[in-house]
Symmetry: C2
Subunit: 469 residues, 2 copies
Amino acid sequence: MTLPVPADVISRLKAVLGEAGWSQDPERLAPKLVEWRDRWSGSTPLLALPKSTAEVAAVVGICAESGTAITPQGGNTGLVGGQIPEGEVLLSLERMRAVREVNTLDDVLIVEAGLTLAAAHEAAEAAGRRFPLSLASEGSATIGGLVSTNAGGVAVLRYGTMRQLVLGLEAVLPNGEVWNGLKRLRKDNTGYDLKQLLIGAEGTLGVVTAAALKLYPILVSKAVAIAGVESPAAAVALLGRAKQASGGAVESFELISRLGIELALRHIPGAREPLESRPLWYVLIEIASGEPGAAEGAMERLLEAAMEDGLALDAAIAQTETQAKAFWALRENQSAAQKSEGAAWKHDVAVPVSRIAEFIETAGAALRRAYPGVRIDAFGHVGDGNIHYDVLCAPGGDAAAHNARREPAAHLVHDVVVGLEGSISAEHGLGTMKTAEAMAYKSATELAAQRAVRAALDPKRIMNPRVLF
Amino acid sequence: MTLPVPADVISRLKAVLGEAGWSQDPERLAPKLVEWRDRWSGSTPLLALPKSTAEVAAVVGICAESGTAITPQGGNTGLVGGQIPEGEVLLSLERMRAVREVNTLDDVLIVEAGLTLAAAHEAAEAAGRRFPLSLASEGSATIGGLVSTNAGGVAVLRYGTMRQLVLGLEAVLPNGEVWNGLKRLRKDNTGYDLKQLLIGAEGTLGVVTAAALKLYPILVSKAVAIAGVESPAAAVALLGRAKQASGGAVESFELISRLGIELALRHIPGAREPLESRPLWYVLIEIASGEPGAAEGAMERLLEAAMEDGLALDAAIAQTETQAKAFWALRENQSAAQKSEGAAWKHDVAVPVSRIAEFIETAGAALRRAYPGVRIDAFGHVGDGNIHYDVLCAPGGDAAAHNARREPAAHLVHDVVVGLEGSISAEHGLGTMKTAEAMAYKSATELAAQRAVRAALDPKRIMNPRVLF
């Protein structure tokens, strides 16, 4: 689909980037052309490595003028193929990693797009603050990629996704102009909020070069617990109580099934049975507060009341940081444990919180009917309605056969999700993997509006052309 | 500028609306054609009063086809003239006031656009929840207007503006099609977030017909205090400490000057001196928490430490709900007190929190130089950098002469604001009043992008055509 890039365009790009600013070396390119799980691989005529916003603008300007397509790539941690070029110029901001400013009066951290999330966390902590976005790939994922995919993670329940955490952006628009929207204002009503268009646009409306991120206080009081419940419906009811009991201080509320615990016990070194009663479902709860003792108090009240009236079957509050980490490891190692167990279909979906139980039941019944023997490992962010709904092959089953059924199985799950007014991509985006499917689910009105906005800002469709509508 | 609406278009509109669905009665129209402070008045050939989303779509469809301009109006509480028609069809959703759903598992309230904010608060409270957006005009302001102007108010510091409080929208786009984006998801990454375009678009990208709003727990622990500080810089420093001490549980942090207190004492019945030491500057602080006693504890710790090292000169914590209300009345009656004092120029501006002190100093010096004798009543939301920067004429001064200087004075203040990377409209929007001025301050890149988006969705520019770019 993407046409070969003319030699003179490549020459002009090299000229504006300077010697250290580009590469065509296959070894240098290789890690950027393969998705980390090996599900997609691609090619590019040139890796552009600008070192400044001005250089990004020069690159995009040349591409705009010549109609040359660009694939922007952050930390290459994406799970839907959106960062892998197929003949486009590959644009990486890995040389743009400056922390431009930390200001504790404004509670803002201004960083360039190539900085990793882990480095942003460090910069915030060094200033006595916290940037709350938190996810597994934070050592590699970059701020530019996280903004462009509206990243989520385990603290969305309280702090929102990247969309709620960005105060301002600097970006190069598809025409090659620099848009300076790097504000640090909490209130600004002077026209359309263009940064909200760029957030989650998966690189199709421009290249994010820097972001002003909101900082929060570090919370002194923290409580982590694991509780057993009878069903996903009980987990949702307990979530409601936790939000009330803590006054909205729930940081995370994660579901794990008994199967998920068993997988962790089997494959993760050091994993231990968290509750001897071995319930069918578990929730991992974290509450945090600025008032010493408040989180601990809220957790105790919550679990005491829930045990008393039978909503919680069993519960353990972590007594040490080590124990809290052990509880979290059970949740965080679900993907790793699955990997050791064999092939899995993965679905990153969201439904209204009130319909989580219905979703798990309906999708489960449909899958078991269509694919007898499959094992369902549903886990994730109950508070966001965001279930990582993973389906393992039967014990000892054939991985290749299981993998071959991935697409029809996804359609089946996504039909249930859409029927419950949910989303077929809660936090990973559409990329190249889900774009066509999303198109089938969206209304003609919605698609026409999305396409009109894109055409208005990128009439030649040079920015990540195979992604979104 | 707006052309007369052809008679056949009026007839078609009347036909789709039915007898109760429109008015041309001057008495019925009058209150909708005058801004409440009498700064703008207008005219319309027809007041359209649809009773359903389908009727809104029919109205917009006829207008789109015939190129007829529409001015949407909510509760007519706007302060920048955006809701007053000048020959356009006037569209009011006052008949669309249904509470469609309250769901405490999803923590969502779904209401139609014509419902007032006060009624939305009641619906939330009836379900044991809270919708935290709070502002003075909540008895009249409607959800549709509040969404379209990205309303702010006194709880933005903790909960954000309307932009952060909307989970989903239903709207009629400028082509007359209904866009169903009435989701209740916390995570959904499937393309551009169109609702974010509609929020704050001041009715230029479509008509919001319903909204899904986020609900929060009602907080059981609350503390209100008033403290004296030496300067705005000290107020900002105290804000930083309050956020840290409470772990982000500050609901409001409002600045009042000694002049503001004196105006309230002079003109507001029942107002009492809050601190006998009569400092130059005051801050009103509200902290709230879900943990019994936590807010009170945080407030005491905060003020004790601040008094000890001299950052706070004096302080009083409200001991009763009545006292808390009395403290708040001093802040809330600033506009009323000014009104009794004489003419005032008002500026709704925001600057980075770190530059509030510099703003107050620089703008004050410039104004006093240009207009000797004026009195500055700076008050408002320190936590958002949003200062209501109001300028009274000299005691006993000539109101007409003062009013005549409003525009050049506003330019002077706005130049200072923009120089400090601030916003000339923090929460009121641009309307017809500030559109031209905003145009002068924005970059060509920004304006071109804003215009391209508008033209993409409303090629005939029928929606609120005199507002925004």
